[in-house]
């Protein structure tokens, strides 16, 4: 039993996410906190940089309860800005640097950012889309700061003693936007307490320690990144950000993991599947890895099994949890699954979290074999969706409870049973670990004036989870290419349909709903035919 030491020093604090950085800087000032390509920064320097950002933001009027958008490529400055935002009392809102300007501007205005940290080129594009998306802030990188913005040199000259702000652990630390079924992305509002509940659990359960070198593969707008950033700070370890071009080519990624001596890897399964399939691991032993963590979708048995044989010294954990709960269940995979085994379990509830399974009437179900919706309870549960009381009420029945919409099967009769994911209650799918509400894809298609009706369906794919295929009826002469272009202007790349079929009519079920199952079958059939 390790219950006595559970949480360790963290039982008595810190209570704010950015305090993890301060604590690390006090304990090991000269340890490298972060590496981005050839650039690196120690804990002491990063802590000071965060203070300077906080001072600069305060000077611009950012204070407790505000939001600051971060719209930039990953960099040392970007991480300093993320901590600096929290230290100024505000919540950081990461915006995908590759997002189309329309979408990026929507996110920034939806949560009415007080300031933005970005580069001059992106600021110009945002302002073109909506001036309110980039009111003021800080620029990074080359180029003169536009009106209202200050350059990074000015940040470097700012005070390392920012104004003290009375932040509590019930205040927001960050807002992560995720796909919304009606076409509007939803901002999941995470408090310091929510985030630290998860980080404390991870530090203890995964035995994260100061000799570790974490990789960071996930984008900052994806919740997996919080373990890389804050788990490494909590453990006073180093985090190294996977360079963009390295992430693209599995062989380069394998070489990078080796040369960086990465010990803790966390990503969606598809990144690992690509590494197994094309990484040349037979001649590139990943012998520094001690923890391989994955989350976001089901890991195809074939690739997981090969990975476990190729990296025999590592421990493997399947982590599960929607953005709204952080990680809430986990399973250590100790035996490489066989080809015909059922999908691996999502495991049991993390300590200090409670999970229940309910049927459609909300009755709690127990016992092996029962199936229903997974409900998560605890201080990990997000405060709700930013500025959307309706959706918050539907998803969060009370302040500590979230209805995941995920259907699971209970696998055993213990009081903290293990679960297996079996499907969704609605039209949300996963592609490369990203949540996609098919309704949001359809909403983007409907913005094209020629589209009369449309349905988006998933096309299962072993490496990626799902691709998206859409069927549309149109009036007038729009072709598939034009419709894809309309999607590209509004949706991030992972949500743009791989294929759009313009059809004469869409099949309906007897009760006059679109027959999604028939369309999914049709999509699969077309995919299997050589074009």
């Amino acid at each position: 039993m390790k219950a006595l030491s559970r949480g360790g020093a963290w039982q008595s604090g810190p209570f704010l996410v950015d305090q993890l950085l301060r604590y690390a800087a006090e304990r090991s000032p000269d340890r490298v906190a972060l590496r981005v390509g050839r650039e690196s920064i120690t804990y002491c320097e990063l802590d000071a940089a965060a203070d300077r950002v906080a001072s600069a933001l305060a000077e611009q009027g950012v204070g407790i309860g505000d939001r600051v958008g971060l719209h930039l490529e990953k960099s040392v400055a970007g991480v300093a800005a993320l901590y600096g935002t929290m230290r100024a009392g505000a919540a950081y809102v990461p915006i995908d640097p590759a997002a189309p300007p329309l979408r990026a501007a929507f996110l920034a205005t939806d949560c009415s950012v007080r300031a933005l940290v970005s580069d001059p080129e992106r600021i110009a594009m945002l302002r073109d889309a909506d001036a309110a998306a980039a009111p003021r802030g800080i620029t990074v990188g080359p180029g003169d700061p536009p009106v209202g913005f200050i350059g990074w040199e000015e940040v470097n000259a700012a005070s390392v003693n920012p104004p003290r702000v009375p932040v509590s652990d019930a205040d927001l630390a960050y807002i992560l936007y995720t796909s919304g079924s009606t076409g509007r992305p939803k901002g999941v509002a995470i408090t310091h307490r929510n985030s630290l509940t998860f980080i404390r659990w991870a530090l203890h359960e995964l035995e994260l320690r100061d000799g570790d070198v974490f990789s960071n593969h996930a984008p900052f707008h994806f919740d997996l990144s919080t373990l890389d950033l804050f788990g490494s700070a909590g453990a006073v370890a180093t985090v190294s950000i996977v360079p963009h071009d390295v992430a693209m080519f599995p062989v380069l990624l394998a070489d990078w993991i080796r040369s960086e001596r990465i010990t803790v890897w966390y990503s969606v399964p598809s990144a690992l599947s690509m590494l197994v399939r094309y990484g040349g691991l037979e001649t590139r032993a990943l012998d520094s890895l001690r923890l391989v963590l994955f989350a976001g979708e089901v890991f195809p048995t074939r690739y997981l099994s090969r990975l476990m044989h190729l990296v025999p010294q590592a421990r493997f954990f399947n982590l599960y949890g929607p953005t709204e709960t952080n990680v809430c269940t986990f399973e250590e995979v100790t035996r490489a699954p066989e080809q015909d085994d059922p999908p691996i379990s999502i495991g049991r509830a993390c300590e200090n979290y409670r999970c229940v399974v309910t049927d459609e009437e909300g009755t709690v179900m127990t016992g092996a074999g029962s199936k229903g919706e997974l409900i998560v309870k605890g201080s990990c549960v997000a405060r709700g969706y930013w500025g959307d009381p309706g959706k918050t009420a539907a998803g969060f029945p009370d302040a500590f409870t979230y209805r995941t919409g995920d259907l699971v099967e209970i696998l055993d009769d213990s009081s903290v049973p293990r679960y297996r994911f079996i499907g969704r209650r609605d039209n949300m799918i996963k592609t490369r670990g990203y949540r996609v509400e098919l309704g949001e894809v359809e909403a983007a298609l409907y913005t094209h004036p020629a589209v009369s009706e449309c349905v988006a369906v998933p096309l299962p794919d072993e490496l990626m989870g799902n691709r998206i295929v859409a069927f549309c009826t149109v009036s007038g002469g729009a072709d598939a290419e034009e419709l894809i272009r309309a999607c590209r202007e509004r949706l991030p790349a992972y949500m743009v349909p791989a294929q759009i079929f313009v059809v004469v009519s869409l099949p309906k079920t007897p009760n006059n709903k679109y027959d999604r199952a028939a369309l999914a079958k049709q999509a699969a059939k077309t995919a299997n035919q050589p074009s």
Partner: protein, 86 residues
């Protein structure tokens, strides 16, 4: 002649992934990944299509920036692959 054909065919493959409009405006020396024209999701589709279209097997070590960074690089790679097998 043999120099031109694969570039056009590789452009067709790219068009199947990012759309004909976008693909036709790509210069053969444009850096596809650096300029954000394709991402890792596209790369998987690209490999599938190249293998299908040109009847070849992409090996791990060949999946490199040298072979995939631009249309010209991909065309050269396909030519070398075909030359060595046919």
């Amino acid at each position: 002649m043999s120099d031109r054909v694969p570039t056009r065919e590789v452009r067709d493959v790219l068009a199947a992934i990012i759309g004909g409009d976008a693909a036709s405006s790509v210069d053969e020396n444009d850096l596809l990944f650096e300029q954000g024209l394709i991402d890792s999701l596209h790369l998987i589709e690209l490999i599938d299509l190249l293998q299908e279209r040109f009847g070849m097997e992409v090996e791990s070590d060949e999946l490199s920036p040298e072979n995939f960074e631009s249309l010209r690089a991909m065309a050269g790679y396909v030519r070398r692959k075909r030359g060595s097998h046919i």
